[in-house]
């Protein structure tokens, strides 16, 4: 498969995922988009192996690796800090009430807020990766020009 065909296919997969995401939101079926996402990534990896004119040399691999390592180094701290808040939900043991409590037990992090936090984390991860990738691409001469 040619490189351009591969990029076209990736675009089609992304658009399909967007449609499935929208359908999942409308019908409130999160499992559908979760499974579709995993399948989409698997398909992309498998198809990428058949691309003949895409050269992944050691410099490109180094740029990707460095960007991923730095992203992970920053992201895990933020992720762990937020996750600790979510773990509090599991470990929360209400004090013995003097009188029977009515209604639902108090929620430290409501599910909707957790959703927004996850969205923020996802965006942070993408921004960090893109930022570091641009930084390392510049460092290792990605946009250098020559007299040739």
């Amino acid at each position: 498969m040619k490189k351009n065909t591969f990029y076209l296919l990736v675009g089609c997969i992304a658009l399909t995922l967007l449609g499935i995401f929208w359908y999942s939101v409308e019908t409130h079926r999160p499992l559908l988009i979760e499974i579709s996402f995993v399948f989409a990534i698997l398909i992309t990896y498998l198809v990428r192996r058949t691309v003949t004119d895409l050269i992944d040399d050691e410099r490109t691999i180094k740029i990707t690796e460095e960007a991923m390592v730095r992203t992970f180094q920053v992201f895990w701290v933020v992720f762990a800090a937020i996750s600790i808040g979510a773990v509090m939900e599991i470990l929360y043991i209400p004090e013995f009430p003097r009188e029977p409590r009515s209604g639902r037990p108090p929620v430290i992090l409501p599910p909707k807020l957790m959703g927004y936090i996850q969205l923020g984390l996802l965006c942070l991860m993408i921004f960090l990766y893109v930022g570091f990738r641009i930084y390392y691409a510049r460092k290792y001469g990605e946009w250098e020009t020559d007299e040739e």
Partner: protein, 72 residues
């Protein structure tokens, strides 16, 4: 690390693209190595020198002044 890739390319009348294709890397990688932006691995350094049929130390010169700080 300094190198004489550009000199050897000129001697063999090769473009960056020709050399890149011959050793299986991108033209941008050859350009980055020539400009000292990227230090190639031992494997790639040997492949380049073998392509020009010379020893690796004839193309790549270790320069203490431009030594990369240890990463980590």
């Amino acid at each position: 690390m300094r190198n004489k890739i550009k000199v050897y390319r000129a001697m063999h009348d090769l473009t960056q693209e020709d050399l890149a294709q011959a050793i299986g890397v991108t033209r941008q990688t050859i350009l980055a190595i020539e400009k000292g932006k990227y230090v190639p691995s031992l494997d790639l350094a040997f492949r380049i020198s073998r392509h020009f049929r010379v020893n690796v130390e004839e193309i790549f010169l270790y320069d203490e002044a431009t030594r990369d700080p240890p990463s980590g």
